[in-house]
């Protein structure tokens, strides 16, 4: 996950998971990102073309086309994966913001509560959390499959994103807060009007990084019988026995998705830099 380094002068957040985000200065035609991204796309196109059986069938099955190559949204593993990822990151951001604010709160009860939440959640593997929320908590509340997946992912990633928010807020120079207080704002006013808007800028790249990590981790929900990309692939492989071909396609699709989004995050980070330099 993202490790955040606080620097008073530069407001820079360093990411240890750096492989995800292509180096900006690597602009040669054969950058690592280009090789992997276009290589994956080429494989995705060429393999089904060269041997339609089974590659193009695998592709149809996991992405969700019917016999006539019409897109069937209800049966699409790709759509399911996106659904889980987008909903989870949305709720995780919400939880994360609350937890981040809670972690810097001066009210010791809230502070303690949020810290305990972060400690507990970060100490339990996501896979165990998924099983726990889906099967163990089903004893008390009935949560339908995809909501259980989204809730578990959001609760888990909420803790990590909460830490990003906390570090982001704390990375804003103390002078900002002092100046706001000196101008007569209350502490909460200062946070909402002065600190948070600046925090957003700092935390966006690591949050983008979390989004990519979440996209990859969403493959874990396949154990809850959620028919995402991986589950569709496993369903195909387990009846057709084309294990190699199926998992190759599944891996390629995940790779294209994560590489695509990591590029977006990198571009976003670049824009932020330019904005920051201008202001």
């Amino acid at each position: 996950m993202a490790k955040i380094e606080e620097k008073q002068s530069k407001q820079k957040i360093e990411i240890t998971d750096g492989v995800l985000i292509p180096a900006r200065d690597d602009s040669s035609i054969f950058s690592a990102w280009r090789i992997s991204f276009y290589g994956a796309i080429a494989a995705l196109v060429v393999l089904p073309f060269l041997s339609p059986e089974p590659y193009s069938h695998v592709l149809k099955f996991i992405i969700g086309f019917d016999e006539n190559w019409r897109f069937d949204i209800g049966n699409s593993g790709l759509v399911k994966t996106f659904e889980v990822t987008v909903l989870s990151i949305f709720f995780a951001l919400f939880i994360g913001l609350l937890v981040g604010l809670g972690r810097i709160s001066r009210i010791s009860f809230i502070n303690r509560l949020c810290t305990v939440y972060v400690e507990v959640i970060r100490g339990i593997p996501l896979l165990v959390q998924l099983f726990y929320i889906y099967y163990a908590l089903a004893k008390f509340v009935k949560i339908m499959d995809i909501s259980a997946a989204v809730i578990a992912m959001a609760i888990c990633y909420g803790a990590y994103i909460g830490e990003i928010f906390r570090a982001g807020i704390q990375s804003i120079p103390k002078g900002q807060m002092e100046a706001a207080l000196a101008l007569g704002m209350s502490r909460s006013q200062a946070i909402y009007r002065i600190i948070l808007p600046q925090t957003i800028k700092v935390v966006l790249p690591p949050i983008g990084n979390e989004f990519i990590a979440l996209l990859k981790d969403s493959s874990l929900v396949s154990i809850l019988a959620v028919s995402d990309l991986l589950r569709r692939g496993r369903e195909y492989a387990s009846t057709s026995f084309y294990y190699f071909e199926t998992y190759t396609m599944v891996a390629i699709i995940y790779l294209i998705l994560t590489l695509f989004f990591s590029r977006l995050v990198a571009i976003m980070e670049e824009r932020m830099k330019i904005n920051a330099n201008q202001s």
């Binding site: 099967y135 089903a138 009935k142 339908m144 499959d145 154990i223 019988a225 028919s227 589950r231 496993r234 369903e235 492989a237 387990s238 009846t239 057709s240 026995f241 294990y243």
Partner: protein
Amino acid sequence: MKKGIILFIVSLISVSFFMVSCSKDKTAVKKIVVATDATWPPMEYVDENKKIVGFDIDYLTAAAKEAGFEVEFQNTAWDGIFAGLAANKYDAVCSSVTITDERKKTMDFSIPYVSIGQTIVVKKELNGLEELSQFKGKKVGAQIGTTGAIEISKYKEITLKTYDEIGLAIEDLAKGRIDAVVCDNPIAANYALLNPKYKEVLKIVGKPFTTEEYGVAVAKGNKEVLDLINAGISKVKEKGIDKELEKKWLR
């Protein structure tokens, strides 16, 4: 340099040990490693003592005794079980494998040792639905890659939900997240009639709607193992041991 020599000697010794142990194996009784997905009671499952038990296990153990080979069971997840067989990670799969034409293309089967059928399990409250075709627009669960899942997927209007283990599908059915589960009738009976947790909640509807035969799967062309297993199975049938086992496990 010294290190290199030591390393060389050590690897030489370990290689020779390896060879000796290999040659030893060949002189002893043939040992067949059998993969089974022990999540399928009463055919094969892990009991309280963490031992793999069940009808298939007893059957193949009896067959081994009759034909004079040793079996070792290895618990393996179902959805990769045939991939492991093709990769020679074990010699055979004895895990309630239905003999189908599709599967025959990628593996060889022993003579059938028991026949079963697919059955529908639903909640006690659900009445009037007895055939799979009546479940259109509903969610029906099965274990991934089983003949139950294949049967459900023949109906486009039914939402198929595949689970890693049949127990998880049954649990979801009991919790009301899906409307029915399709599985082999001995397993359905075990959960819906015998299991203390589920017998009050679940029931079996209709009759088994397929006729299927279980066989032991071996890698394509592995005649040596297949012959041993076939010899064992026919002797078990001859002596009537199979009837005893059916009485013990399947009732």
